[in-house]
Amino acid sequence: MDSSARRMALEFRLSLGLLALVAIAPLAIDNPYWLGVLIVSMYFALLAAGWNLLAGYTGQFSMAPACFAMIGAYTTGLLAYHWKIAPSLGIPASILAAGAIGAILGLIVLRLRGPYLALTTLSFAEIMRLAIGNSYDFTRGDLGLNVPGLFESRLACYYAFVAVLLAAQGGLYLLLRSRAGLFLQAIRDDEVAAASRGVDVVLWKTVAFTLSTAASGLAGAMYAHFSQLVSPELGLLSQTGLVICMVVIGGIGSLIGPLAGALLVYVSSEMLREAGGVQLIVFALLVILIARFFREGLWGLARRSLRKTTA
């Protein structure tokens, strides 16, 4: 195994460790509010992982992760609200819907890069949000939809999230370890060269888009059945901004960055909320500093200091 494969394996093991900590946290915390906070951070962690696959590994900086979470939430929500379909069918439907729409969007934006891609996905996200918000008759607009819960107990919901995150991390690791990982990163680094070496750029870009949006849809659907309320606010641009902050702070382009970033940012945001609501200012500042001076995020900093101590 060469160093990059070793690094990825290390990141995967660390993320498993982190998830293990999250899994045993309920033993120490029985306050339902903080359990809820951890659940929401897991929701963001899933969104972050999906966006990181698209942006960090494939180089496509989409502005639509929150939008697809919203699409996922509304798919299962509308199915439950209008046709009384159970979450066990609604959630898979959300994955399919988000993935399918994502695949189409991915094909549409194939030739776009950088700010053009960002602007197109941003427009798409805003259009969807406005469309859902305005379709009052069907979606109840800004009032939101009430949907049934997934489980009776909050704890069961908690472990459902842990399980899903675990599966997602595992799937991501398997994917990135395979030739797909090589191809996606090659596309990120130099699309023209990748094509010249024989990488099917169209296929793999679309795959990345589809997987990313499907993960977002799944996250949104699960969140819907946890909070039991679905509203267009899920798809706000500021929510996407939060996801981007989390990934950049944690370490973009790594397996552990999104997970660590999501947990760190959301939990401390809740803790800071009591201290006077400066959390977003702090995080935005942190993102700027990291982007400006150290793009590998906190995980990169950790790796550097580890290397110094072991060298």
């Binding site: 950088g114 053009y116 960002a118 197109t120 935005a284 982007a291 400006r292 150290f294």
Partner: protein, 296 residues
């Protein structure tokens, strides 16, 4: 009569859009990036104007240039601290300059919005009007004095900018850098100063828009979001770097939204521009007026 009214109002709105979009177009022309914090320059202008007038007791006609200055300063500072890496080459993002710009300006936008929210408070503040004349008849239509004054100022600023770019030394330097950065620097032009100037100008224009519209669209922390999205649409439609293109696109968008709100759908009036943006980027990546494609 309604149509004429809609048309004129559309043009007026288009002028304000132009104030926003023209600066963004300049930035794109010089640095080839989109500034996602552009809306916050608008917000800075709106707040400076409003607070200067109400908290500091400035006369609105003094508060206006103050808002301009604030916007210019904000733009200059942004370029100086955050945008240098894009061409000085010492950023750790290296090749992913587009993505760096997206992340950093997005975060800046988040920072400014929340900073203002914290420091000034989230409640909308209404800016004072410049002119007290209520409604006047101008040919076939009725306009408020405020709107008239604002329109006049916008036209003056845009024309001034066009003249500056065309005839002044610095203006021509900016055009040179936009066409060919390397060549311009080899010819002895200070490209860093050109970039700073462009950012300052774009900040000033956006701030002016915010200040002029403060009496109509109250200043609130996220007031800049909508104007920003409109300007992104316009920059792309106008050809990402073409000044005349973006002015034309601004006016066109204003008129389109004005008619669309009445004849198609009021609720969806904001989506027309977005939908057009998507369609244009998909089918004609170089915009309606641009020449360069965005293929790799």
């Amino acid at each position: 009569m309604l149509n004429v009214d809609l048309f004129i109002n559309g043009l007026i709105i288009g002028l304000f859009y132009a104030l926003m979009a023209v600066g963004l177009t300049l930035i794109f022309g010089i640095l080839k990036v989109v500034n996602f914090a552009h809306g916050e320059f608008y917000m800075v202008g709106a707040y400076t104007y409003t607070l200067a007038a109400f908290k500091l007791g400035f006369d609105p006609w003094l508060a206006l240039p103050l808002a301009l200055a604030a916007g210019a300063f904000a733009g200059w500072l942004t370029e100086r601290t955050l945008m240098r890496p894009l061409y000085a080459g010492y950023s750790s993002w290296g090749l992913m300059r587009d993505e760096y710009a997206v992340v950093v300006t997005f975060a800046l936008s988040l920072l400014l919005i929340n900073l203002v929210d914290k420091v000034v408070g989230p409640y909308p503040q209404r800016g004072p009007g410049l002119v007290d004349i209520p409604r006047m008849a101008l040919g076939p239509i009725m306009l408020s004095g405020q709107k008239l004054a604002a329109t006049g100022m916008s036209i003056a600023m845009i024309a001034g900018l066009a003249l500056f770019l065309r005839y002044s030394l610095w203006g021509r330097q900016i055009q040179a850098v936009a066409q060919n950065r390397l060549g311009a620097s080899l010819a002895g032009i200070d490209t860093a100063r050109a970039s700073s100037l462009v950012f300052a100008l774009s900040g000033a224009l956006a701030a002016l828009a915010g200040a002029l519209l403060a009496p109509i669209i109250n200043a609130s922390p996220d007031v800049g979001a909508f104007p920003a999205i409109k300007s992104y649409v316009i920059v792309v439609l106008g050809g990402m770097g073409s000044m005349p293109g973006s002015i034309a696109a601004s006016l066109a968008l204003g008129v389109l939204e004005s008619f669309g709100a009445v004849y198609i759908s009021y609720d969806y009036r904001d989506t027309f521009g977005l939908a057009i943006l998507m369609l244009v980027l998909i089918f004609r990546p170089q915009g309606l007026f641009g020449e360069r494609g965005r293929e790799v």
